[in-house]
Subunit: 322 residues, 2 copies
């Protein structure tokens, strides 16, 4: 079992790699090799019992894709993306990576003829526009960001390349991942981790929306569990649409902060500064939060039980030691 | 008002051009020029009071697109496509024309910065898969052909390029056009015209499905009317989703034949041969027919009143003289 993680340098990619290393198996087979590819050579995984290679790969470039997607790859995780606010600012970057990059990986798999399993991370940003709540499995995708449109295109491609037998694809619309470790990124949702992560580390953070802002969340730990389950689903259980919501849960900003206070005491919440940011609001207020991931739940994927859990996972898995 | 029709050599493109010539105006302005572009230089339109140019254009080639999409174009009709059965057989042709061709036209408009009105013909082939009937405006697109997937991608692109202000797009999911004049083409739906057109011309035709097969139809004449209305819709009336079903109506093969008999007498129906064709059935049986085009009807687009009308339109507009 040879696994390639494109976007292997990112938060989810690194956690997924460590989980796979710890597990040692995927789809009932022992893992012989893991390769982490990203736009810059990803951090290696220490103390792995199997080879874990790292390499730079620009998925916008078919020649670069050909170097990392090779005939011996059994499972491809395609996690790499230009995130929401970034793709909104730099339209070409979003098109080149999110749309053409996905197409390049699919075309490479098609050219090889090896029909790899391909796990694609879409996003709940595919939802939006003039579509009534709640969002169910048969809800129209009417994204209101270029990121969401490019992810929705990726889903259509994944479905068609799967239907044609070029890959064995499965796509998951990720909730906003929180608490995300590391530094803020160029996702419009970046603050949804910052307002917890920074205060938990004794630092100030800015919340650009009101505290009654509702959104749909999943912890990184649970996301990785679902991505592993996603690769292990039987193709015949996926039906005619291989893309689905990954389960998450709706909470308001106030509920996130209350959960932080319940787990870590009253001090962190005092470090949150409230400053409205219209450009961020313009993006995130178009996102949907009343989501019903029935298909994924039926297939065994799951959400966090509480946001207190998400806070604990951050403290256990990610908080830098003092 | 300078109008470019890409796919101007096809049945709908030629009829649209003649209707625009007869009308003389679009969007409240007199038409100064019409250009018909297609993969082979289209037939010219005789006796037009304004210049009607024709040119060869391969939309899969950005340089060719740059030659036909110029800064003086106000309205682009993008009708060109690799049709359903053809795109299923030749995956690359479908991707290059239907997906990349649409992208090339949009990218050219973006580069020009002139924000043309762009009328895009999608197809009801975007529907299918594991989606419950009836099909409404907020129904998930789960196409089960590459043609349908490529058209659904075109819709997402048109919406996002419109949202970003690069074009003023409007997309219409065309029903199966019948009675389509001319020769059979490589659409899986080709027989849905052949079984009427050929008998009306005294020739035999093959029906590859049973006579209770239901499908969703529109006459070419009404399609052209709707495409003209589509260009004239106010952008603000389109909302956050610029793509919609074009109204049609559901009839069975038996109802089509009965309508032909009602208009043209009993002889034509005797020329239909019944021969099951599993490859055609595999495509068309995945198509949807229980469609509710509420948005388009609200905006003033309309279907035929009866299939007898469709038969009469063919006899009036298209039947070759003996």
């Amino acid at each position: 079992m040879n696994i390639l993680i494109i976007g292997g340098g990112g938060v989810v990619g690194q956690k997924l790699a460590r989980a796979l290393v710890a597990r040692g198996t995927l789809r009932g087979q022992s893992i012989d090799k893991i390769t982490l590819a990203d736009i810059v050579d990803p951090a290696p995984i220490a103390d792995a019992p199997m080879p874990v290679a790292t390499m730079a790969c620009n998925i916008a470039d078919p020649a670069s894709v050909a170097q990392c997607v090779t005939a011996d790859v059994d499972v491809i995780y395609l996690l790499a993306a230009i995130v929401s606010a970034h793709a909104e600012e730099d339209f070409d970057a979003g098109m080149n990576i999110n749309m053409m990059g996905t197409l390049n990986v699919l075309e490479r798999a098609r050219a090889l003829g090896t029909k790899p399993v391909m796990v694609f991370t879409s996003s709940i940003a595919v939802y939006g526009g003039e579509v009534p709540d709640p969002i169910v499995d048969h809800t129209f995708l009417n994204p209101q960001t270029s990121y969401g449109a490019q992810k929705a295109i990726g889903e259509l491609l994944l479905n068609d390349y799967s239907r044609k037998g070029f890959v064995d694809g499965r796509g998951f619309r990720l909730p906003t991942i929180s608490v995300r470790p590391g530094k803020p990124n160029r996702a419009a949702s970046s603050f949804m981790s910052s307002i917890l992560r920074e205060p938990l580390n004794g630092q100030e953070a800015v919340c650009p929306v009101d505290d009654d802002f509702p959104h749909y969340y999943l912890s990184p730990r649970k996301c990785v569990e679902n991505l592993i389950k996603g690769a292990e689903l039987a193709a015949e259980d996926l039906g005619q649409n291989r893309c689905m919501m990954m389960p998450g849960r709706m909470w308001t900003i106030r509920q996130l902060i209350d959960a932080m206070t319940a787990v870590a005491g009253p001090e962190p919440a005092k470090l949150i500064k409230w400053e409205a940011q219209p450009d961020i609001q313009a993006i995130v207020k178009g996102w949907r939060f009343d989501l019903r991931p029935e298909k994924a739940i039926k297939l065994g994927l799951s959400a966090d039980d509480s946001f207190e859990d998400n806070i604990r996972y951050y403290l256990e898995d990610d908080k830098p030691s003092a």
